[in-house]
Amino acid sequence: MFESKSGIVFVAGIGFFALAFVSNAFVPALMYKNIPEKKVEELITPNLRYQFEDLARRFPESFEKAYGTPPEAPEENEKWWNEQCATALRRGHKIYVGEGCWHCHSQFVRPVSNEEQRFGPVSRSWEYQNELQRPVLFGTRRVGPDLSREGGRRSNDWHAVHFYHPLDLSEGSPMPDYPWFFDGSPDKPNERGLAIMTYVQWLGSWLESYPYYESYVPSPLVKPEAEEEAGQ
């Protein structure tokens, strides 16, 4: 067997591969079989909706250009927001993958090295059972911090400026500039910019303690009408 063609093809080639496949891939697949995989539509929480509507308020022109205007009727209106939010999430995920963000940022918090204190609760299996983790974005390198608890930690304005030119907000940052997420300036995110911000704000928005960040201060949010009143 050890030096024969059939031994090598069937035992070493197929047999050992299959053994490893069963133990290292099939077993975990079976173990998580009972956690249903969520569709993007099921991932929209009030936390995320809040951030998404916040984008609409902060960047009204950009938002209208990318998503149009919401319908008036209340039920339709609700449905419309959820649909647009799902579209933005899908698109944001695609950008996150295509730009290789996941080669510089991980998306899982380990139970060691004080990561729980730095980033937030340790990651658990159910958090990854959804369409946007297919293939899973654990990541293997952290040039920048873990992002799995990033949602709500910074305001949308912060993200816009940061994506446009990270050095403006973070001295010495090696993160690349992403001017193509904008139409010329950080206050004009385009469809891609809105999508990646929605995606980043989604990360961790499913947790009860959201956002998990010690020194979190809610960003002051003023509704457009209130702003107008104040201006008058």
Binding site: F16, N24, A25, M31, G98, R110, Q133, R134, R142
Partner: protein
């Protein structure tokens, strides 16, 4: 037995080498491989410049460092390593089996299809279409073509092996297994996480994929070729057949079982993580036997390392291999993982094995084969020395620098220092990495220049004769 197969190899040369080996395709594979290596290194330098904030192309969409980092790893794996290995296989398999490949036209079809796959991958990545799978970033729509290509490769090379009579030499064990494994690995890694499993279990599959690609495609082809070229150049058989058996079967059994060690401390069940750790340490022992076997073969002829450049490349690679594996048996333990995971330690490890070992071997084989195909010696011995020393010192420097930096980063993170602190103190190390990278790139340029000179001389000679 090993001695027997080698002498039949020599026998073939006397009679039918040109019927067996299509030298032109070997040359084409080699040149293409080197072009991709150059591309990959430029991409690596671009990413390295981004980290030290001196990327001249920052802010231009298709030159985004994140995208070029994916070009970097993909060009090296599929453009350089795969092409380099295919070239060497076109030389060694027909000579070992005394049978031509299944079909020479098919060989060229595969060559073309493969360059299409690599080129399309690069274009896909540049335009933001990557798939979220480390080393499997090939956009989803190219995957079936690549899969078909791998099937054709297996058919083309398995046929001569199947037709061959008599005992099989060690090299062929590795090759046969590698063809089966590569096909299965690619299918598993690129389709399962995309279509069938999600979440954490997809993480397990992804880990298995990155790992198997190195362990079941690159490693067996690399060692198989070493078992072929080292005894031929040293003109003596491998030291111990028993150790060859241990090496092959140990690798075959333990290597695939380790996939999950890339994702320790993830939500993947702990008992599976322990299993991966234990089999990783087991494979380290197996590797040691292989390295001992090769140094046993060199025993008594060590002087050859000074005079014979290919042998020098091979054995330098083996020393780096041993070091990488030694490093690995530490880094795989959960104690080390706490600190070094996610840090530059891992990047140092990756360069030590991918460049220090496999690229050194491929370049060594190229140095051995080019003169045989061009029928003349290398134009410049000096350039060969430059190539060797720049590559060896460059990669040693890069790996040492990054491994040390990784430890510092890990400690800084665990100590809850602000994130920026870890970026700030990495700066000088990252600068050193750029310098080391430029040295490696310089080595490649020396090699390219040498090939050019040698080919020109060969062409001139042909013209004179005609």
């Amino acid at each position: 037995m090993s001695a027997a197969s080698i002498s039949t190899g020599a026998h073939a040369e006397a009679h039918t080498h040109h019927d067996l080996v299509d030298e032109k395709i070997v040359r084409w594979y080699f040149i293409t491989a080197l072009i991709f290596l150059g591309t990959s290194m430029v991409a690596g330098i671009l990413m390295a410049m981004q980290l030290i904030r001196h990327n001249p192309l920052n802010g231009i969409e298709i030159f985004s460092a994140g995208r070029w980092r994916m070009i970097h790893t993909n060009a090296v794996a599929y453009g350089f390593l795969a092409n380099g290995f295919l070239g060497c296989l076109h030389w060694s398999i027909p000579r070992l089996t005394l049978q031509p490949v299944f079909n020479k036209h098919l060989s060229w079809l595969i060559y073309g299809a493969w360059q299409f796959v690599v080129g399309a991958t690069a274009v896909g990545i540049l335009f933001g279409e990557a798939q979220a799978l480390e080393w499997g970033e090939t956009p989803v729509w190219i995957d079936p073509v690549a899969q078909l290509g791998l099937l054709l490769v297996a058919i083309n090379f398995m046929t001569p092996i199947a037709r061959m009579k008599g005992p099989m030499y060690v090299t062929l064990w590795y090759f046969m297994a590698a063809f089966v494994w590569t096909f299965l690995t690619y299918a598993m890694g690129n389709f399962m996480p995309q279509y069938y499993v999600g979440g954490t279990s997809a993480g397990a599959v992804g880990g298995l994929f990155i790992h198997d690609l190195v362990g079941l495609f690159v490693t067996p082809l690399g060692w198989g070729l070493m078992y072929y070229f080292v005894p031929i150049i040293l003109k003596k058989p491998i030291w111990s057949h028993g150790l060859s058996l241990v090496g092959f079967w140990g690798l075959a059994f333990f290597y695939p079982l380790q996939g999950i060690h890339h994702f320790l401390y993830t939500p993947i069940p702990m008992f599976l993580q322990y299993g991966a750790v234990v089999s990783t340490i087991a494979v380290e022992l197996v590797v040691t036997t292989v390295v001992i076997n090769f140094f046993g073969t060199l025993w008594g002829n060590a002087g050859v390392v000074k005079t014979n450049i290919p042998i020098r490349f091979f054995y330098t690679g083996m020393i780096y291999y041993f070091l990488t594996c030694l490093q690995c048996s530490f880094q795989v333990t959960l104690t080390f993982q706490k600190i070094i995971h996610f840090s530059d330690w891992v990047v140092g490890h990756a360069h030590m094995v991918m460049f220090g070992v496999f690229s050194m071997w491929i370049m060594g084989m190229m140095i051995h084969l080019f003169p045989r195909m061009l029928n003349r010696p290398w134009a410049s011995q000096n350039l060969l020395e430059w190539h060797y020393w720049l590559s060896t010192i460059g990669v040693g420097f890069m790996a040492g620098d990054l491994i040390l930096l990784g430890v510092f980063q890990g400690w800084s993170w665990a100590a809850l220092e602000p994130w920026d602190a870890s970026v700030d103190f990495s700066y000088p190390f990252w600068v050193l990495r750029v310098i080391a990278g430029l040295a490696m790139f310089g080595g490649l340029l020396a090699f390219a220049q040498n090939i050019r000179l040698t080919m020109q001389a060969a062409a001139k000679e042909k013209a004179v004769r005609a």
